[in-house]
């Protein structure tokens, strides 16, 4: 039995040989952070190891005074006897896969990742490994993403239609990553009249500081109450749905940009007029492609409903399991 380089502990993924955690949920002395989303980057760690690209984001989310050790992509550093390196995951700006090498073994924890091009972050890098700990947010074959440029064009059509109706188009999307990626894609198509909710504005500012080029936008708080919002495309976080903030856009249509919008029932149940299928996670073909590309013979699935993927990988002769399977001795 070879040794396990990454195990799951209550506080998060842990490397016993190097005595460090990956994306821990509770304060620990040494944390390797894959990216700035709140389910991955938490406050209170002794030292943060992350890609330099994402430094602005981590400081925005966690504060200026965190002890941040910035690393270049692909450049190894030692934590105890373990050699660690961070490699672009293509998920959001500064997102990384964590490569952990010890003895004759290489493990990779993917963090969140996607295989689609994204103008606001470095593309996913294939990192050969023996064991891949992969995310499985969208692990069913019904999830296949359309071309982002096509979705951006649909969003522009919708904005124009709302303009003809004399109302605003309010597009709900995550404030970190998704919003900036959409803005960049929309900017390529020449989108105008892009307005931002405060939460999105804060994310855009962080991307600005990191030097990512985004199209011209205006903060809703700087816009006079009387100004006509017809035809404006307003980006807001999902929490804005049903909030009093939305009241100033009377009659506005609501759209949501997310991989979950692939299923009609999800959109209808939440009462959005429009759902736009755009995700920063790997779709089903992206998951399979990445598993194949990295050459791992053993796959540990985490972060989502992984039963179908595990069964399929096992049928293909790979060793596939979840951390729960390992814990239960299955």
């Amino acid at each position: 039995m070879s040794q396990e380089l990454i195990i799951q502990r209550p506080e998060g993924l842990y490397c016993p040989q190097g005595d460090f955690h990956i994306d821990p949920l509770r304060p620990v002395p040494r944390a390797v952070i894959t990216h700035g989303h709140s389910d991955h980057a938490r406050a209170g760690m002794g030292v943060y190891h992350a890609l330099g690209d994402g430094a602005e984001i981590l400081r925005w989310r966690l504060g200026e005074d965190i002890a941040l050790s910035e690393h270049h992509a692909g450049q190894g550093f030692d934590l105890g006897p373990v050699r660690v390196s961070l490699h672009p995951a293509g998920h959001v700006l500064g997102s990384a896969q964590v490569r952990v090498a010890h003895g004759d073994q290489v493990w990779v924890a993917s963090g969140d990742y996607k295989r689609q091009p994204d103008p606001t972050c470095a593309p996913f890098e294939v990192v050969p490994c023996d064991v891949l700990v992969t995310e499985t947010t969208f692990a069913l074959p019904v999830y296949r993403w359309p071309q982002t440029a096509d979705v951006a064009a649909q969003i522009l059509d919708w904005q124009a239609e709302c303009g003809r109706r004399g109302v605003a188009a309010v597009l709900l999307c995550y404030a970190l990553g998704k919003a900036q990626r959409l803005l960049a894609e929309l900017g390529r198509l020449g989108a105008k009249k892009l307005w931002l909710h405060g939460a999105i504005q804060a994310g855009v500012d962080a991307y600005d500081r990191a030097g990512v080029a985004l199209p011209e936008t205006r903060a809703v708080k700087d816009i006079e109450k009387g100004e006509d919002s017809a035809g404006a495309l307003v980006l807001a976080p999902p929490s804005a749905a049903g909030s009093p903030w939305l009241k100033r856009f009377r009659g506005a249509q609501l759209g949501f940009a997310s991989g979950w919008m692939q299923i009609r029932g999800n959109r209808r149940r939440r009462g959005y007029e429009r759902g736009f299928v755009v995700s920063d996670h790997a779709d089903w073909p992206g998951l399979l492609q990445s598993i194949e590309d990295c050459g791992a013979r053993r796959i540990i699935a985490t972060h989502g409903d992984s039963a179908a993927l595990i069964r399929l990988l096992r049928e293909c002769g790979l060793q596939a399991e979840t951390f729960a399977d390992l814990r239960d001795g299955a």
Binding site: V142, R144, I263, R264, R269, E273, A308, R311
Partner: protein, 530 residues
Amino acid sequence: MERFAALYQRLDRTTATSEKQAAIADYLGQADPASASWAVWLLCGGRLRGLVRSGELRSWVATASGTPDWLVEESYSHVGDLAETCTLLLPEPDSEPPMRSLTVWIEQHLLPLKGAEEEPRREAVISAWWALPYAQRLVYTKLLTGALRVGVAQGLVQRVLAQMSGLPVATIAQRLLGDWTPSAEFHAALLSIAPQRGDRAQPYPFFLASPLEKAPDQLGAIDDWQLEWKWDGIRLQLIRRDGELALWSRGEERLDGRFPEIEQAAAELPDGCVIDGELLAWRAGEALPLPFSVLQTRIQRRKPGAKSLREAPLRLLAYDLLEIDGRDLREQPLAQRREQLGDLLQVQDESALALSPLVAADSWAAAAELRSEARNRGVEGLMLKRRSSPYRSGRRRGDWWKWKIEPLSIDAVLIYAQAGHGRRSNLYTDYTFAVWQDEALVPVAKAYSGLSDAEIGRLDRWIRAHTIERFGPVHSVQPLQVFELAFEGVNRSPRHKSGIALRFPRIARWREDKVAAEADVLATLAALAR
């Protein structure tokens, strides 16, 4: 088809009636007449039947997409809609889709699938899947499975057509009743301002009663009201015109030929008369009608045999007269119509075509007393109809009320759950409930409605965390949650393991204060069965 798919998408995206109406009007205004006719038929709930079986679609989509069968099932259970699952499992085509109208797709591609061998059907479906982009693939597959489910009320379609043609909605509604085959000619006739021949065999739109939710004394003096029993049967319009007889159910289904005893009795009616009434199973000489389940055995039988006629003889209880001597009486006050109905049926054979008796009560208190005995009389309560009211159409509140007896209720345990369809596809919303028989829980009812959205969400999470086993889409759950079910009655049913079937079960309350052991026992229900 591209335009029809766009219409489907527009309807799917909105809940606003005005927007739906505009979308339908836009489509019908642009489409060729035959496609417009098909669209109207589909929007009114028409389904293409018997083209493919659901099992075939699943296995074909597995082949076409290179997905293992179990993974197709897994995907279906996640998405909750088979047509949508197939659509999502298949890739986008590389080339431009064929430009074919909705009519060509239906008449030349879909309808010929019926009765064909599996091989050519499979090839036809798979090649259509490969050719069509997402929106059209979804509509195409929905047509294959029969259910379009666009969430459009028939009344809305009728209003659009009335607006297009300048005809009254009632005329459009009449012309759309019953079985019709979509075509350019039908569409032209539907919208034509000239009177149409078929109009004559058509029923009038039914006037429906609303449930009484207030105290009856708020309706004013009881003398202004006509009281009748609320029968537990099937609403029927009997039309005698031009020497012919037509029987129409409220579901706008023509039922001629199924009820020879009714037709025989009606043959004596004068030409040009239309009667509204309730069909019941009732043996001559008995005080109570037979239960609804007995009537049901007759509805499904197109040509009843001697045994069926003997065991479940039918009677039509007439309560309204809509036409006499070819004159439309609907604008006359109910009291006048009723008088003429009495004159007409005096001469009729009492057993198969009878007058629904009036219930006499000189005060609302006396009426309430009579209503409380309803269950013993085999009726569901009282009907309250304003004597001065015209015969309106649809469910218009104010003149006709159904004052039903309170429903019965039991406490039962949730044992199975299944994902809902359509809007509820990712939630477990279809529940099976059981009661105790000795040490075992026996399923007695399925119920879908009655919980709030918040409760549905909470129960969904509970179900996911407490699943014992999965049989395809069905999860068996730990028998811990108790629900109060309301229902209208209990029928004996040898088809069910429990030997009984609840009528109209629905969830009244989630009894989180109760434990499973406190749920009811089967014997309680068996005692209520008829």
